[in-house]
């Protein structure tokens, strides 16, 4: 039993090492990708800064407060993207038949797909997101309590679980609908953008669906309110900032069910 587990770990390590070697052999390209990824997070933050230029408050929040939200969302998203972001290639693997090879190996399907493309190039993004988080924490007057310190750690972590689940959910679509194309991006990248702004910016059924129906308000907006000690203009109680773990675990459960159902009903495209 223990030996088997060790063997499996060895196999995962071999997959990872192969990817590291592949990345190292195209060094120039790797460096460009590293900096581009850094730029991607920088753009998210810069967009918020630019949008706040003409107005001192947008949606009732200052730039400093908005920065806290975008950095929390960014940290959560980048961690999820590094861990499971590659899953959105699933439809390519289904179409090309690569998934069959993956299914034949005696290893976890999800784990293999995660390791099939080493996301080291995304690492710098996390560093930048953390730097912006530091700046945002410095720019806002926050009264630190043990609960808030705990929130600062749990919010990005469970936000990452949340985004990771959304990645798996949207990729699972490919099991039923191979031509799902960019559909999943509406919820992965779209969800990230939604979570990066104060929820008060949005309106009507769109806000209701993304913020509360899908739960994106609990990634950054509600935790940021709790950290800042602000009351929610939209009327949720102060403890709403602390329920992100619960929301994340519910979504993770749904994603796990969808993934299992997808794998079970998967029929190879054949060739």
């Amino acid at each position: 039993m223990g030996e088997q587990r060790q063997g499996r770990l060895f196999a995962y390590a071999a997959l990872l090492a192969a990817q590291a070697r592949a990345a190292a052999s195209y060094r120039a390209s790797f460096v460009v990708e590293l900096t581009t990824n850094l730029g991607a997070t920088a753009m998210d933050v810069l967009t918020v800064v630019v949008l706040f230029r003409p107005a001192p408050r947008v949606g009732g929040f200052t730039l400093a407060q908005a920065l806290l939200m975008v950095s929390l969302a960014s940290c959560a998203f980048v961690v999820a993207d590094i861990c499971v972001g590659n899953i959105d290639r699933l439809q390519t693997y289904v179409r090309a038949g690569t998934l069959d090879a993956v299914l034949l190996r005696p290893l976890g399907v999800l784990a293999q797909l995660m390791l099939m493309d080493l996301p080291l190039r995304k690492a710098l993004r996390l560093v930048l997101a953390l730097v912006v988080l530091g700046v945002a924490l410095h720019a806002n007057p926050i009264v630190w309590t043990p609960a808030r310190l705990a929130l600062l750690v749990t919010a990005p972590l469970f936000g990452a679980v949340f985004f990771g689940s959304i990645f798996v959910l949207s990729a699972s679509l490919a099991f039923w609908w191979v031509d799902s194309g960019e559909l999943g991006s509406a919820f992965t990248y779209g969800g990230r953008d939604f979570a990066s702004y104060p929820v008060t910016v949005f309106e009507g059924w769109f806000r209701a669906l993304f913020a509360y129906g899908l739960g994106f308000a609990f990634v950054a907006y509600q935790p940021a309110l709790a950290l800042l000690g602000l009351t929610d203009p939209l009327g949720l109680p102060p403890w709403a900032g602390y329920v992100s773990p619960l929301v994340a675990l519910i979504v993770a459960g749904v994603a796990a069910l969808a993934w299992r159902a997808g794998i079970r009903q998967y029929r190879s495209t054949g060739s």
Binding site: S29, V32, P56, E182
Partner: protein, 286 residues
Amino acid sequence: MDGQDARVPTISPRRPFRGVATTFGALVWAGFRRWASYRQATMAGSFTNIVFGFLRCYVLLAVAAATVNGRPAGYDETQLVTYVWVGQGLLTVVALLGWSELSDRIRSGEVTVDLLRPVHPVVSYLAPDLGRALHRMMTRFVPPVLVGALVFDLYVPGRWWTVPLFAVSVVLAVVISFGCRFLVNATAFWLHDARGPVMLWTLAGGALAGLYFPLRLLPHGLAVLLWVGTPFPGMLQTPLDVLTERDPPALQAGLVGLQVVWAGALLAACAAVQRRAERRLVAQGG
């Protein structure tokens, strides 16, 4: 073989214009037909464009509501709404977010086949790309604009020439985008793998072309620098500013003129790079 059978219409100064136009037209049509076969992916893509449309629209409306005169960067609310939804429609028409067909062909070596064709390689990629843009104009442009018109108040142009000028501006935007994509992909002739440059292009395209926010929100000098010094605004910001009549008539036409300059310069650069690359391919003995 009397040579008759092997005759192919070619683009050369000696051939009559009709032959040139026929070949070009056939290539455009081939590009159009190819994209028409991905119907489900087209629907899925439109859905995503629409979700992002709502996102960007609400954000900009919130900015407008918080701005003192209600006109951030000189756009009123209907102009901002139009900017967002027409932008979401144009996004895939101008293929702002990446294209790696040429670099894939370079990496696999298939690109050598392109050299055997009787059509100049730049033309043989440009024509199908125009066909692709036409197809996207008919499928991907309409849904976001329709949703935007149903849910929000769109801006109705007041000058009679705005819509035809917008059409011209969109065609130029496609050519500019094609020129940039061709050049980015052509780096694979030297780098063997253009994944990095293509990613860089996607990132710069979104930010500098005016997708994430209207470039007019930037400090004035920076916006002017982007317009004159880079081709990016010519791919999205210019057509959108033309349609929303953001500027007085002279500037409106001037921005399209700037697009003409960039389109010409980029096509010339493509031809030059192609020549260099061909020499390099021969040098490699491939």
